[in-house]
């Protein structure tokens, strides 16, 4: 179990950081938000990410990838987190494409994954129907038809749903909302008849959509898997998101430390006030804890350990805890100026909270951890 990055992974991190600092500072995300850009991210940057090999990094060579692990994806996500890059890494790579990659539908893999690696295909993941995260609370129904299934229901908070070419949708073939059994994942073209997409604007500048399925026909060859696949996709995405959160929290923390070192009040640097110093030490500890649990969770996946779900829930719980503390303290320690939209720190605050809620808040993951531990 490696808790530190390998040399190759450090190189990847350094090159990702230098590319993003150069081509994607926070101001880029801010401009897209302010302009209410229709895409919400940059297709040009996405193309460069493909050219850099990031989008296929965990895909097999036959699918245009380089066969690395989740840890490499996470290294990139952490760096994206530091600059709040709005590209659909989580939605396309770790939710949409990963559902295909982890499925046993080889035909679909051959069709979809190379296009993803090349940056030519965006895939969304249509799961949630309720406000609080509850992946089995699914009412969307998939009814057996002559040549496949017919899907009816409405999905919310579908990340980057407004630009998706294709959508993985979680629907119910049997059972009732709340049951794990009876969930099935389908692969649907976004332009199929009956698919209705309404873009929603999120407070952190991310892009999402409501996606309606009004009797959408899908062929039997577009079936991906059941709840087992869903759990695995969510575990990997949760770890990737937690890694992104570590990057965001780290950057927010560092900017706050800089402020403590520069801002003067009562004739001294405010970083000299012991109350703030002690709180900074607490922030540091929470961040280091999050980093450790995320690295361990990534190892669990890459080494195919049997505690992947447990590690993912532990990592997200702690990432959320760190995000909440660091987000709140970043604003408070910046004082009035931290409340203005002019400063970037507020963007980190919003994104940290949104990520905290996304894919399950601390309460959700604490309960899941407890269940997995048998209590």
């Amino acid at each position: 179990m490696a808790l530190t990055l390998s040399e190759d992974q450090q190189l990847l991190r350094d090159s990702a950081r230098s590319f993003l600092d150069d081509k994607s500072p926070v101001s880029r995300m801010r401009a897209l938000r302010d302009e209410r850009d229709a895409t919400g991210f940059s297709r040009a940057v996405w193309k460069v990410m493909a050219d850099l090999g990031w989008l296929g990094i965990q895909l097999r060579a036959e699918h245009g990838g380089s066969g690395k692990g989740l840890r490499e994806v996470a290294v990139i996500m952490t760096e994206c987190g530091r600059v709040l890059a709005p590209e659909p890494v989580l939605s396309t790579l770790l939710l949409g494409a990963n559902a295909v990659r982890l499925s046993s539908n080889e035909a679909l893999k051959g069709d979809v994954l190379p296009a993803v690696a090349a940056g030519q295909r965006l895939i969304a993941f249509a799961l949630e129907e309720t406000g609080r995260f509850d992946p089995y609370a699914i009412n969307t129904a998939a009814v057996l038809t002559a040549d496949g299934y017919c899907i009816t229901g409405e999905k919310r908070y579908v990340l980057d749903g407004h630009t998706a070419d294709q959508i993985v949708v979680v629907a119910r073939t049997s059972g009732a909302a709340g049951d794990r059994d009876g969930l099935t994942l389908f692969f649907v073209d976004a332009d199929t008849d009956g698919v209705e997409i309404v873009r929603t604007t999120m407070m952190d500048g991310r892009n999402a959509a409501r996606v309606g399925f009004a009797g959408v026909d899908v062929g039997a060859d577009r079936l991906l898997g059941n709840a087992e696949l869903l759990d695995r996709v969510l575990d990997e995405a949760t770890l990737g998101l937690a890694a992104e959160m570590v990057g965001m929290a780290e950057e927010a923390f560092e900017r706050t430390l800089e402020h403590l070192k520069e801002r003067e009040q009562f004739g001294v640097k405010i970083g000299m006030f012991q109350a703030l110093r002690h709180r900074a030490a607490e922030m540091f500890a929470e961040l280091e804890f999050a980093r450790s649990l995320v690295l361990d969770g990534l190892s669990a996946v890459d080494e195919d350990r049997d505690d992947i779900s447990l590690s993912a829930s532990a990592a997200k719980t702690q990432a959320n805890k760190a995000a909440r503390l660091i987000g709140a303290e970043a604003i408070q320690m910046h004082g009035g100026i931290g409340m203005t939209d002019e400063l970037d720190i507020g963007l980190f605050f919003k994104r940290l909270r949104a990520a905290d809620i996304t894919l399950g808040d601390a309460s959700y993951h604490l309960r899941r951890f407890a269940s997995l531990k048998g209590y």
């Binding site: 406000g131 609080r132 919310r156 929603t200 604007t201 408070q332 409340m339």
Partner: protein
């Protein structure tokens, strides 16, 4: 007591005559304009915007019990009662420190809610270290010439007058060269820029003074003695902000209890989520404790058993409470609380999200939590410095 009951009847009669049903919904931003204007004028005419002020300055001349009755009745019918900065802060300060001329000039306008005031205290460089302010006033005949900048000035874009802390003695130590001065906002040399906050709105402005002018007789309290006046004013701010949060929250909106019940659902008469249930109860108890503590503080301060610095407890706990309430609302709403604008979310959801963002300001403005705790440690607990 009998008198109090007859006063209560007087208030009820007044309300029946002057407060139409459409306004009995609390302090909402979308109230119908003309009825609101009429109601406000009726209230002002009785002096009941400022019930405890002497009648000669436009107040209601009520004693404390009567004031409590009036407030209770207004609240009971959800009467909208705007509480502008002028009434809450400047009024109390002028009553205590103003000259007779100043009181007669300014208080009736405040009492009738006819003159709008803004507060010029903070500066971009000063933050919590308010006394390090640099905005200067140089005497020029019987006027002062004002140069510098103020920030976090709410309502500066609509204000008629400003009460402003300026440096009048440039050689004295930082606390000893400050004066509080009043002047008109509508004059050359004053520019107001709104400040956009993280919630997307501009509650505050930045104000720039470039040779703005104020009459020398508009200094409140002693020349160069403005720090004492300002500290007293901030104490009022802390006490009233934490005592009147019920008004600020707005009574007609869905309460946090209703919100959590709706989002989380009930199960056999009990909230479906046991952890949020305890958090909600803890929040309600906190709110109750804060209300009672501020009431008690007022009683004890009046009885001379306590100094006014107890208000600092109210200020930082009020901020805690507000933040806790909005965090709770966010956690109950899940992804439903993450919307910003446009379709896909209910207007009430979007409003809650923005209020959550704005709630982070409560532990910053009006003296940060850190300043409140410093004050308690020093003034209330007597810890050495």
């Amino acid at each position: 007591m009998a008198d109090l009951e007859s006063f209560r009847r007087e208030v009820r009669d007044f309300l029946a005559d002057n407060l139409p049903d459409e306004l009995r919904v609390g302090n909402r931003p979308d109230l119908p304009e003309e009825p609101l204007r009429k109601w406000t004028a009726a209230l002002a005419e009785r002096g009941w915007f400022t019930p405890e002020w002497p009648v000669e300055y436009g107040g209601g001349g009520l004693d404390r019990e009567q004031t409590a009755v009036l407030r209770g009745e207004l609240r009971a019918v959800r009467a909208p009662v705007e509480s502008p900065a002028g009434v809450r802060l400047l009024g109390a300060t002028l009553l205590e420190f103003g000259t007779e001329e100043q009181k007669r000039q300014h208080l009736p306008g405040v009492a009738r809610n006819a003159v709008r005031w803004c507060q010029g205290f903070s500066e971009p460089g000063s933050g919590s270290d308010l006394a390090s302010l640099q905005c200067r006033a140089d005497l020029d005949g019987d006027e002062y010439v004002i140069n510098g900048s103020k920030i976090w000035t709410s309502g500066a874009d609509e204000a008629d007058w400003i009460f402003c802390l300026v440096r009048t003695d440039f050689d004295a130590s930082k606390h000893r060269g400050i004066s509080l001065i009043l002047f008109e906002m509508d004059q050359p040399g004053i520019e107001v820029t709104p400040l956009e906050l993280i919630d997307g709105t501009a509650h505050f402005c930045q104000v720039f003074f470039d040779d703005a002018r104020a009459r020398a007789d508009q200094i409140v309290g002693p020349l160069h003695g403005g720090w004492t006046v300002a500290k007293r004013l901030l104490q009022h701010e802390r006490t009233t902000d934490s005592a009147t949060h019920g008004d600020i929250v707005g009574e007609s909106k869905e309460t946090i209890v209703e919100l959590v019940k709706r989002e989380v659902g009930m199960n056999n008469g009990v909230l479906a989520d046991a952890v949020l249930r305890e958090r909600l109860a803890a929040h309600e108890i906190d709110t109750r404790a804060l209300d009672l503590t501020m009431q008690r503080a007022v009683e004890e301060v009046s009885a001379g058993h306590r100094g006014r610095d107890i208000g600092s407890v109210g200020k930082f706990r009020w901020a805690d409470m507000m933040k806790a309430e909005h965090d709770l609302a966010m956690d109950a709403a899940g992804s439903g609380g993450l919307g910003w604008e446009g379709p896909g979310f209910e207007p009430a959801q979007l409003e809650r999200t923005r209020e959550w963002l704005f709630s982070r300001a409560h532990s910053i403005w009006g003296g940060t939590d850190e300043i409140q705790k410093n004050t308690i440690a020093k003034r209330v607990l007597g810890l050495p410095e």
